[in-house]
């Protein structure tokens, strides 16, 4: 799993870059958006930034699971879209809220949940349906990852995390749904410096911290 939401905010850009250098292949990547690649990223943030496009360019990914593999409002030039059109990567598309809930479901040790989102659309294809109180629901199953790469604002040395503005997005829920969670943070602070009332991710979920000062 890779945190963030769409563009720069909340994306662990340094961890993604590191993963591209580390070179692991045949990855299954779970992320909200497939990234646009460095060139198109300049349309979203001046100067651009490295996103998941890097991993698709490198051919490191065999499957992508997310709600926005490619942006319809952008030219069809993102590394994922090109890889997909070339038959090099498989895509599983799912509604954003269903994705969020499947992640929470995996994090919370549950077996699945019923949702009305996607009823009557291609989302229900191959999925079990059930009528509850006269309404149709689709059964959705949990998502859980081997690794979560996430971006937070500050960590204490125990691993408690806080986030900044909309860079929070998918990061706190992905942090809870992986065997090993690696957090890229702007600032690492001593234990006791984060207010116990405002910690968003408790340290039991965080296994590695990489401080990358802005």
């Amino acid at each position: 799993m890779v945190g963030g939401f769409g563009s720069f905010a909340g994306l662990p850009v340094n961890l993604i870059t590191a993963l591209s250098k580390q070179g692991a292949k045949n990855l299954t990547v779970i992320a909200n958006m497939g990234g646009v690649g460095f060139e198109l990223s300049k349309r979203l943030k001046p100067g651009g930034y490295n996103d998941l496009g890097l991993l698709f360019e490198n051919g490191q990914v065999k499957k992508f699971i997310g709600s926005v593999p490619a942006l319809g409002g952008m030219p069809p030039d993102s590394p994922l879209e090109k890889s997909y059109n070339a038959g090099k990567v498989e895509i599983e598309t799912l509604p954003q809220g269903t994705m969020a809930e499947r992640i929470r479901c995996g994090a919370g040790g549950l077996g699945g949940f019923y949702t009305r989102v996607g009823v009557g659309t291609i989302v229900e294809k191959g999925k079990e349906k059930k009528v509850i109180n006269d309404k149709e629901y689709i059964l959705e199953l949990p998502l859980f990852a081997d690794f979560a790469l996430i971006k937070a604002y500050k960590a204490d040395t125990l691993g408690n995390l806080v986030y900044r503005k909309t860079a929070r997005c998918f990061n706190p829920i992905m942090a809870t749904a992986a065997r090993i969670t690696i957090a890229e943070v702007d600032e690492l602070v001593p234990v006791g410096q984060l207010d116990p009332e405002v910690i968003v991710t408790p340290h039991v979920y965080v296994h590695r911290i990489v401080e990358v000062p802005r």
Binding site: G73, P76, G97, T98, A100, G120, K165
Partner: protein, 220 residues
């Protein structure tokens, strides 16, 4: 003289639907422009799928904060009383029925209010994003779109041929030519762009339109 509303004017008309105190989510693209047209004297709380409630306008600062963006990747400004949360909580709010109005773009809307707004031929890798969740969860779905494709093919159709977002979810369609309400009886044409007649708009619409008793020109 026949006038087609431009995107800003469509957004302005859509924003007139925002009642005082309503919680509104704006979809990708044209709907985002509504943020700049809140009717005077009304308070509207904008919710964004990534995890934010109560933000302000699109940022016009020279130094933008790229960690303060709406779900369309646009930097926005803070407002007092706003708050941040994670995307899981955001979709609890959306599915849980706390969004009064969502404004979405569309490729097609059917006469029953079915919505197709995320997939189109030649772009198999695009995804539905939060559209399905919003269409299923919001109390009222407003669609803003151009009345036809560039080639003149109607977008208000009998049955959607593009992949569906949700069935029977749209309440109001606002295009460059018309304001159309989706009712149990069918599509009711409520307002026309300046200079346009009912037959002319019907002619560019695949689904049958019912002229409202008080059919009028769009007031802007």
């Amino acid at each position: 003289m026949k006038v087609r509303l431009d995107e800003q004017t469509i957004a302005l008309r859509a924003a007139r639907e925002f009642t005082d105190g309503s919680v509104v989510n704006l979809g990708y693209g044209m709907p985002g422009l509504c943020a700049n047209y809140i009717p005077e004297g009304r308070t509207v709380f904008f919710q964004s799928e990534n995890g934010m409630l109560g933000y302000g306008n699109l940022s016009t600062d020279v130094e933008k904060d790229y960690e303060m963006i709406n779900a369309s990747d646009q930097p926005v400004t803070p407002l007092p009383g706003m708050c941040f949360f994670d995307s899981g909580i955001s979709f609890d709010m959306i599915r849980g029925g706390h969004i009064d109005i969502v404004v979405l773009g569309a490729y097609q809307v059917s006469e029953k209010g079915d919505l197709a707004n995320w997939g189109r031929p030649g772009r198999p890798a695009t995804g539905m994003g939060g559209g399905m969740d919003l269409a299923a969860g919001a109390k009222k779905v407003i669609v803003t779109m151009l009345h036809t494709t560039r080639e003149g093919t109607p977008r208000v159709v009998k049955n959607c041929t593009y992949p569906l977002t949700a069935r029977q979810c749209v309440g109001l369609i606002i295009t460059d030519l018309a304001v159309i309400e989706v009712t149990g009886e069918g599509l009711v044409l409520k307002e026309l762009a300046p200079g346009w007649t009912f037959p002319e708009v019907q002619n560019l619409t695949e689904a049958r339109l019912i002229p409202a008793a008080d059919l009028k020109e769009i007031e802007l």
